[in-house]
Every structure is written in C-alpha cells, then in structure tokens.
C-alpha cells in the first residue's frame, strides 16, 4: 500500500502547545512517527544563569506552568546539594504539600484532556471542575492558583498559616466523594475500555529500553518512583503507596494517574495534620563553589537539575532535564502499528509537556556534540538580531 505522510502541527487544536508530528501512514495504520519540538524554546537555562540563585527560582517556575513546583523543587535541591545542607523540617513538609497539590491538579488536568481527546467531554468537564477545587486549596495555602513562588534555596518563602489549614482540609475532604465517583466512572466505563484498553501498549522491556519515567513507566510495570526509591522532602515520613500497573496501555496510564491523586490527597492531609513547628528557611547567604544535582518525582516523572557554582551569587551552569524528554521517544514503541484514530490519545498518553522539554544541543549521528552552549548562544543572538532587523525593529 502507498505510504502517506501526514503532518500535524505545529499549531493545531489537539494540544495546547505547538509541536510538529510527522506521521507516516499506510491506509489507516501508522508505520512511523517523527516529532519536532523547539517551538517553545525560550532560553531558560541561559536566563537562569544570568540571575542570582534567589531570583532563578522565579524563572525556573515558568519553564512550565503545570510543573511550576517540580522545577523549582529540583533546582533548590540541586543548590542545596552543592553545600550539602539540611533544610528545616517544616520547610520540607510545606514543599511536599505544594508538590502533591500540583500532582493532583496535573493528573486531573491530564484526565480531562484525555477525555476530550477521546471525544468524551463529560470526563473533561468533570475533571476540570474538580481541579478548580484543588486550585482553590493551593490558593489558600500559597496565594496563587498556579506559579506558587514558594521555593527558595534553603527553604520556602512563605509559611502555611495555622488558621488556613482547616479551610484547606475541608475543601480537600469535600472533593474526595466526587473524585471517587469520577474514578469509578472512568475505570468501569465500557466506552473508555473500548477506546483505551490494549491501545498504545508500552511493554515493560520497551519501557526500560527507552528509559521511560513517571506514570508512563509505572503503568508498564516498572516500579520506579523517586519518592519511594530515594525519598526527599517528607515522603519518607508519611504513609503512601506506589501505584504500579502491568499492561502499559493507555487505560493503565489513566488508572495510575487517577489512583495517584488519591495517594497525593493522603499525603497532603497527613502533612497538614502533622506540620512540625520551627523555621521555614535556613537563610543561606552565599553558595560555595561546586556542583550539585537535584532530582524529584514530578507529576510526569523524574525531573533532573544540575547546577554548578563558582562561589558567586549566580549559577555558572544550569542544566534541566524534564520527564517528557525521556518519555517522548516511547512514541516509537507505542504508536507504530496503531490506527490513525487512536493517534490523538496515544500522543497524549505520556502527558507530554513540550515547554519543559525545549532544551537544545546539536549532535551528529554518532552522538558527538557539534555545537556547544556558547556556539548556540552566539548563533542564536545573531539570528535574533536578523529577525528584529527584518521586522523593522531598532537594532540593540
């Protein structure tokens, strides 16, 4: 049968962010896929290196609006790893609460979008309605719906006021029955079974081979969760379970995420109930020279930050690796052989976040780096100046 190449993107209604998929199809079957990202690149690593350690967290928060806790969390852990130092216990608990709140809203957001991609808008509306309640909780605790600005190297910026805790707990309790209803509706729905069971299967072997992370890996039977395997924050002080399923299809990925929201609710409630007294910030004034790594379990998987310091108030190198960078290549294993109608949900099943992923390096086929950071910055500045000129702006 003749091959057809089907371009999707970069600006398309399927996903919120711009990205470009090239699907090769034979009739209805997808035989190959290519993904091009880079439409969201904003030069965050470079910007972060031009700011002080304290200011950097604000830029890093804006790597991604949904992971606006994960990235600062990993970054602050990387900076603390340079010392290495201990963060006050109360700060650890507050960090855990904010990170888990983010996990709940991120998973609900994905569930809603997944329903939307399947043409099942009821799930979309229900999930996003529930998500609003969680955003209210976050607003009570941190002062904003997204972009919480709670993290700083050495601790947290703001305390959780004791008088806010009952209101937050009440709201969290109020969503549990509805969430339970939604969980049963999704897990028992014959329509969703028909659309997602056995679709886009990522086998355990493939998951390990592609180094998938987060719920994508856990749905394939790989029991890997940094919160359990190398605990940070307050995760080793509270009771919770790692959710692992075995089939690796889209349905299992949904199940992992739904069940994880319940675990997150459990963690938040325990942390709020047992919030220890004490300082919230170690008040670090300078960062010694050295290098540090910080990795945490974001809603989408392991987020990894590397920071190098030369003893001044700015990082000399800051490297970000987002979970989608690892999960994106699994498309090769999941989508090939499936029908075009299922492409939308399979492409969404890893919960892709392209603005997290937009870092850059140029390599040849053997993996040798052709252009290094400074080359890229120079090339980039030249091109930016050319575009500014062509569009009639004053030269800088």
């Amino acid at each position: 049968m003749a091959k057809t190449i089907l371009p999707i993107g970069p600006y398309h209604p399927l996903q919120e962010e711009p990205e470009f998929f090239t699907l090769t199809v034979e009739g209805e079957r997808i035989t190959d896929i290519d993904v091009r990202v880079g439409y969201n690149h904003r030069g965050i690593e470079k910007l972060s290196e031009s700011k002080t350690f304290d200011q950097s967290t604000f830029v890093i928060e804006r790597i991604c609006g949904i992971c606006s806790t994960s990235h600062p969390f990993a970054f602050t852990r990387a900076v603390e790893d340079i010392f290495p130092m201990e963060v006050p216990e109360r700060a650890q608990y507050i960090r855990t609460i904010i990170a888990e709140g983010e996990r709940i809203h991120s998973h609900l957001l994905w569930l809603g979008l997944a329903g939307h991609f399947l043409g099942y808008n009821t799930v979309f509306m229900w999930a996003w309605k529930l998500r609003e309640e969680i955003l209210d909780v976050m607003e009570i605790l941190s002062g904003n719906r997204n972009n919480y600005a709670m993290f700083r190297p050495g601790g947290v910026r703001r305390d959780i006021k004791p008088e806010d805790i009952p209101a937050a707990l009440r709201r969290i309790d109020s969503i549990v029955p509805t969430l339970e209803m939604l969980k049963n509706a999704v897990i028992d729905d014959p329509v969703l079974h028909a659309r997602t069971k056995g679709v886009g299967v990522l086998s355990k072997a493939d998951s390990i081979r592609y180094s998938a992370v987060g719920p994508t890996a856990r749905a394939s039977g790989v029991a890997r969760d940094l919160r359990k395997n190398c605990p940070y924050g307050a995760y080793d002080k509270v009771e919770w379970n790692m959710i692992v399923t075995q089939n690796g299809d889209v349905f299992d990925k949904a199940v992992v995420r739904i069940l994880e929201t319940f675990e997150s609710i459990k963690i938040i409630k325990t942390c709020l109930d047992h919030l220890p007294e004490g300082e919230i910030d170690a008040n670090i004034t300078s960062v010694p020279p050295g290098e540090g790594i910080g990795h945490i379990e974001a809603p989408r998987g392991e987020t990894f930050h590397y920071v190098r310091s030369d003893g001044t108030n700015r990082p000399v190198r800051h490297k970000v690796r987002a979970p989608t960078f690892m999960n994106l290549p699994t498309f090769k294993a999941t989508i090939v052989g499936e029908t075009l109608a299922d492409a939308t949900i399979i492409l969404a099943a890893i919960d892709p976040c392209y603005c997290c992923t937009e870092r850059m390096a140029v390599r040849d086929e053997t993996g040798r780096t052709l252009l290094h950071g400074p080359d890229l910055v120079r090339l980039s500045q030249e091109k930016t100046e050319r575009i500014r000129r062509e569009m009639g702006a004053e030269p800088r």
Partner: protein
C-alpha cells in the same frame, strides 16, 4: 467594516495560539470553558481552525520560531478579527525580555486590540478582558 465587526460581537469564536508560553495562560484559557467559569454562556466557543475564528487569543513570549509563523497565521485569518494578548509574556515578554530567543514583543508583529495582564491572568480576568473588548467595540461601531 464597522458593521461587520459589530456582527462578530454576539457570539465571538476564539482561536487560541501559544507562541512559546509556559502553558499556564493556555490552561487558564481552557479553564474559562469549563463548568466553573463557563464562558460559553456568552456565546464564546473555542474554534479548532483559524478560519473559523473571530478573536485570536495569543499567549507566550513570541519566540523566533513563532514570530514568523504568527505573521503568516495572522495574514490567513478572515478579517475583521480582534487580537487579545493574554499574560505578561504576550504583553511585554515579561521575564523573557532578555532572552536570546524572544526577538520582538507581540504588538510589533501583529496589531493587538486588548491586553490582559497577569502571570497567569486568572480566568476572571480573561473573562473581564473579553467583555470589555466586546463593549468597547460595540460602543465604537
């Protein structure tokens, strides 16, 4: 032109375009459609194609990749059409103003009719901005 523009105001269909944002504004735009805010009761619908759109909602800091594409895209929208810049990045590039990859602010690339500030703007702010824009255009035509 004036009459055509006022005809859009009963039920403006919006097209949402991210030009390199952090996702947050995009999600708040989508949030407006969901039950708590339900902007559809004002007749606003998210359109899947630029050809169906009356209002462009633009988020993000307009990086190099999107600056050129945005210009092409704006040329292919049926006119008249209104442009709303959502969020700090689309207004002034926000904290990405020093980035090597964000050459120009949005309003240097295409004309913008309304700005909604915030990082990200709350859904309430987005709805208020849309309503103000409709009232203003309605009063002028």
């Amino acid at each position: 032109m004036g009459m055509k523009l006022s005809a859009l105001l009963k039920s403006p269909w919006v097209f949402h375009l991210s030009t390199g944002s952090c996702n947050n504004c995009d999600i708040e735009v989508l949030d407006c459609l969901t039950p708590r805010f339900d902007i559809e009761r004002f007749g606003m619908l998210l359109a899947g194609s630029i050809k169906h759109a009356d209002v462009l909602l633009i988020t993000g800091s307009c990086n190099r990749q999107s600056a050129e594409r945005l210009k092409r895209l704006y040329d292919s929208v049926p006119k008249p059409c209104l442009v709303v810049a959502i969020g700090e990045c689309a207004m002034s590039r926000g904290m990405f103003i020093d980035s090597y990859n964000c050459p120009l602010p949005l309003d240097h690339i295409i004309p913008v009719d309304a700005y909604i500030p915030g990082c990200p703007p709350k859904p309430e702010a987005i709805i208020a901005g849309a309503v103000q824009l409709i009232e203003k255009v309605g009063a002028a035509t």
